[in-house]
């Protein structure tokens, strides 16, 4: 890639005042670096990934409202986590976290376990129990 071809498309990086560094060749064929504000093909990929997470979060929310899963699954998606990551944060086996997705099991969790999840999601226990709040 030539230095003059380093893309300067708009992206969310601008909002954080970040420009990323590319390696590119100048007119004499010498390698140099150039900063970039963003590149569309990458922006689309990232936007799609974010959209996917939003859809997963919304689907989880609907499931919670229909009492098909516990709020833990909703907050997990909201925090871009999967079961493995969540289990590792709360320090509970993956299969047990999955069990906590069952509304009937979730209802009977100890106050300590509620607090653990609430801390990880950075919310109150009240918010953990009632996702509308």
């Amino acid at each position: 890639m030539k230095k003059s071809e380093v893309p300067q498309d708009s992206s969310s990086l601008e909002s954080a005042n970040i420009r990323e560094m590319y390696y590119a060749v100048d007119e004499n064929g010498e390698y140099t670096t150039e900063l970039s504000t963003g590149w569309d093909p990458k922006k689309i990929a990232l936007d799609n990934a974010i959209q996917d997470i939003k859809e997963r979060t919304e689907a989880a929310k609907q499931k919670v409202l229909k009492n098909e899963t516990s709020p833990i699954e909703y907050y997990m998606e909201l925090n871009k986590m999967d079961v493995g990551i969540l289990a590792s944060y709360v320090g509970i086996w993956t299969w047990r976290v999955k069990r906590h997705f069952k509304p009937s099991v979730f209802k009977k969790l100890s106050a300590k376990t509620y607090q653990k999840y609430a801390d990880i999601f950075d919310i109150t226990v009240e918010q953990l129990k009632h996702i509308e709040n």
Partner: protein, 331 residues
């Protein structure tokens, strides 16, 4: 306390930390040199791992490998420490700062608040340098940022003890002994040989063969997984390839810069020619990203489009195979 530390932006965080720490200790080594000597370039498909619900491909070696290999090849010794107790991790960090020793840290990205929200995923192999503490805030040199920044004690603890795959566990590292003079020539040759071996390895998930494998999978995804999932998978490949830190084209341009610099040090004009060649291959990777993005932008592409980009990857695989065989002979 503030250590007199020069922050220089780099494309990739691990290269940048190494290059900046080396400069602090009196050795000027460029980012591409660190990357090349550390045999950072790779292509690998990790079928047993899923991140963000999609298969993982990587264009670089495992986190930590670049610094380890670089250090071993130029004769630098690194000290690495991991911690169970966050308080102890903080204590050891402050001891180093008091001794005028800036340290590298492995951190998770998710809670790095100076990144835009969209970039904050549960990715735990980011690297930064801490070079001081002022008014209860740690002074941070994050190599992918243009300028230095700072984090509170709580914020730093959170990113040092992020959880999930590659959890950093407070991982702190710094060089402790140096040779009198860096012998780059031998190190460069070792670094190149290693990369050639990796890229032409007779293993289906590493190097050129992994690229071919992914091409085959791309042909199958739309029918087997459905358009939506196929596009999600494709998007993840492009993101890995063009993520912040790759320098563009899945690290192929940084490698081109390395070969150009190596050509001068070794007085080997063949490496300049090969630098031009890998740059062209980098351009092809960029073309692949453009065409892949057209597919997932529309969200309803024809199967033909997948076959087309799969063929593009197969061509890249073939060119890289020839390239790395030539490179091996050139040194």
């Amino acid at each position: 306390m503030e250590i007199n530390f020069t922050h220089k932006q780099s494309a990739h965080c691990e290269n940048g930390v190494v290059s900046n720490l080396m400069r602090f200790n009196g050795f000027e080594v460029s980012e591409p040199m660190v990357f090349g000597i550390g045999s950072g370039l790779l292509f690998s498909y990790l079928p047993f791992l899923k991140v963000n619900h999609a298969p993982v491909v990587t264009y670089r070696v495992m986190p930590g490998f670049i610094f380890n290999r670089f250090a071993k090849r130029v004769g630098v010794k690194i000290k690495r420490e991991k911690f169970k107790n966050p308080k102890q991790a903080q204590q050891r960090l402050e001891e180093n700062l008091k001794n005028n020793n800036p340290v590298g840290l492995q951190v998770g990205v998710y809670n790095l608040l100076y990144f835009p929200d969209e970039y904050r995923f549960h990715f735990n192999a980011h690297n930064m340098v801490v070079y001081g503490k002022k008014e209860d805030r740690y002074l941070i040199s994050d190599p992918v940022m243009e300028d230095v920044t700072s984090l509170s004690e709580k914020e730093l603890e959170k990113v040092r003890f992020a959880k999930g795959a590659f959890a950093p566990k407070g991982h702190m590292y710094y060089p402790i002994s140096f040779p009198e003079k860096l012998d780059l020539e031998k190190a460069i040759i070792k670094g190149i040989k290693h990369t050639c071996k990796d890229m032409t390895a007779p293993v289906p998930i590493v190097g050129v063969r992994a690229i071919k494998k992914i091409a085959k999978l791309i042909r199958k995804w739309p029918a087997k997984k459905g358009i939506k999932t196929a596009n999600h998978y494709l998007g993840q490949i492009v993101r890995m390839q063009e993520e912040i830190g790759t320098g563009g084209g899945g690290f192929r341009y940084i490698y081109g810069a390395f070969l150009q610099e190596a050509s001068k040090i070794l007085d080997n004009p063949k490496l300049t020619e090969l630098s031009v060649e890998i740059t062209k291959i980098g351009d092809l990777w960029r073309d692949f990203a453009v065409d892949a993005s057209r597919i997932y932008k529309n969200r309803s592409a024809q199967e033909d489009a997948y076959n087309k980009i799969a063929s593009q990857l197969e061509e890249i695989a073939q060119l890289e195979e020839i390239f790395f065989k030539k490179l091996k002979k050139a040194i």
